[in-house]
């Protein structure tokens, strides 16, 4: 279970995360949504101890991430597919991670097989496509067989086959009683694999509800998302003629 309580993170005068509170329960897939710059990645980095919150706290099964004795075996983390030294092979990258916890070489081979990277495990990561990088990131998250998984945009760059695989993977992990927190911009995908959805905008909580609750009014999850975040979008594109692109999802 991941608990985020009144979490605030300021970068100078900017409040990237602003009093955010939510819980990701065990045995469920919690989708984490929000427009670009809403504070999703910052929140995830704070949960795994890469950043310190300005105030508030984030715990995993009651413990701060930095206090975990065996972090990889408690929490699997994939924050960015480009987290590998380009000159290192996929196998060596995973092996170095495994060695910090005394995880065996055979478990490294196991996660390579689970993510379908057998044929490229000996290749340097700098030659990987985005999708292969994602698979390597997921392999790293699974390495310690953790009870909690935190995945930032895991399907980004994956082929349809890979998207289907991730969907099945996170459903299975939750079915085994594990906690999965997963961010994505693909509404259709989240509607299929998430039990609950936490939506944030400008660092604040906009909604924390189950997928059926959000779609109760008859619209899709995307409609509900666009409606909720319409005031919280910081970066909005314009059409070629200069007018703001209308949000069709809300009126449809």
């Amino acid at each position: 279970m991941i608990e985020v309580e009144a979490l605030t993170k300021c970068y100078g005068p900017t409040r990237a995360v602003d009093g955010l509170t939510f819980t990701a329960q065990s045995g469920t897939v919690t989708g984490f949504l929000g427009p670009n710059g809403a504070g999703k990645s910052t929140t995830m980095r704070i949960i795994v101890g890469l950043e310190r919150p300005t105030s508030g706290r984030a715990t995993i099964d009651g413990q701060r991430y930095a206090d975990l004795v065996a972090p990889l075996q408690a929490v699997g983390v994939m924050l960015d597919a480009r987290s590998v030294h380009p000159g290192r092979t996929a196998f060596r990258h995973l092996l170095a991670q495994a060695r910090t916890h005394g995880i065996s070489r055979s478990r490294v081979d196991e996660v390579i097989e689970m993510t379908g990277l057998e044929s490229v495990a000996g290749r340097r990561a700098g030659t990987f496509s985005l999708g292969m990088g994602q698979r390597l990131g997921i392999a790293g998250a699974l390495l310690g067989d953790p009870h909690t998984l935190i995945l930032d945009e895991p399907v980004n760059g994956l082929d349809p086959d890979g998207v289907l695989w991730v969907r099945g993977l996170v459903r299975d992990l939750a079915a085994q009683g594990r906690t999965v927190l997963l961010s994505s911009h693909l509404m259709h995908e989240l509607a299929l694999c998430a039990d609950r959805v936490v939506i944030i905008g400008k660092g604040r909580l906009l909604a924390d509800a189950s997928v059926p609750e959000l779609t109760a009014e008859g619209g899709s999850l995307e409609d509900a998302y666009l409606k909720l975040t319409s005031d919280a979008v910081q970066y909005r594109g314009r059409s070629a003629t200069g007018s703001v692109v209308p949000i069709t999802g809300v009126t449809r």
Binding site: G49, L50, H85, T100, S104, G162, Q176
Partner: protein, 287 residues
């Protein structure tokens, strides 16, 4: 790729909670310093750049020593040890690069996310990097010293140079080669940990170790000589024979450091840079 989707249920069987497979259950779970050290060692050896830097450093040291050896004539009254270690002028660059590579390797592509989510206490990683840098730099220096010996004293017997390892001055100069290169590699590691960008760290390192010293040498005076004595390159005094040191101290208006005083200065730099790098690592956000 297709295989990955076939039967995820089956594939996850071994990862079910309650029935951990024997391969995933180590005797004592968790992060220990020994394990972090093993991981850092794996990381260092898994990069081709490490090998190339070591080979380049050895070749540079031996080539320079060989070239300078060509000018030695019988009766020159030059010490053999000084000739063997003369390649340090180029080799120190290699040592610096090695340290910078270890210090900045985490930050070029965001490897630090994988590293510091595995070791959230962070500092053990830096300490392990210090250990692997010392081992790698010392190993490189030892091979460079042997290669330099072979292409100078070993290759020619006509110049009358002799090396007596039991002589304390000779031993100090030869050991000094390794001590100095290890020190400069640690300076590179410290700057790398502090600046996190390879190019910035390398430029800062070359300025500190080589360029500033040469600029100040053009304008000798009390201030310039004092500053020169307090630069990390001062550690190279360990490589200068007693006669050379006497001349150096006699002409300098700055502090009289002798042979080991420079080593203390270099050690001070290493300590200060690593403490600063450690402070940044421990106290600041990793984004």
């Amino acid at each position: 790729m297709n295989r990955a989707t076939s039967t995820p249920q089956h594939r996850l069987e071994s990862t079910r909670p309650g029935s951990p497979s024997p391969t995933t259950a180590p005797a004592r779970p968790g992060v220990t310093f020994t394990r972090v050290l093993a991981a850092e060692w794996t990381k260092l050896l898994s990069l081709r750049s490490t090998l190339w830097t070591a080979v380049g450093t050895i070749l540079a040291a031996a080539s320079l020593a060989y070239a300078l050896g060509l000018f030695v004539r019988p009766g020159d009254d030059q010490s053999g040890a000084s000739l063997i270690v003369s390649g340090y002028l180029l080799a120190q660059l290699g040592a610096l690069v090695l340290g910078v590579q270890v210090g900045t390797g985490e930050y070029g592509a965001g490897t630090f996310r994988a590293t510091f989510t595995a070791v959230p206490r962070r500092l053990p990683v830096l300490v392990a990097q210090v250990v692997v840098t010392i081992v790698a730099a010392f190993g490189t220096a030892a091979v460079a010293l042997l290669a330099s010996y072979l292409v100078t004293i070993g290759a020619r017997s006509d110049h009358g140079l002799i090396v007596t390892i039991t002589d304390s001055e000779t031993a100090r100069i030869l050991a000094g080669f390794a001590v100095y290169l290890v020190g400069i590699a640690l300076v590179g590691l410290g700057i790398g940990a502090l600046l996190r960008r390879p190019s910035a760290a390398l430029v800062a390192g070359v300025l500190m170790v080589i360029v500033i010293d040469h600029l100040l040498a053009v304008n000798p005076g009390k201030i310039a000589d004092t500053v020169r004595a307090l630069l990390p390159g001062s550690g190279a005094r360990l490589l200068i024979d007693d006669a050379g040191l006497a001349v150096l101290d006699a002409t300098s208006l700055g502090p009289q450091l002798g042979a080991w005083g420079g080593t203390a200065v270099l050690g001070g730099w290493v300590l200060a840079l690593l403490l600063a790098g450690g402070y940044r690592l421990r106290r600041h956000d990793l984004t």
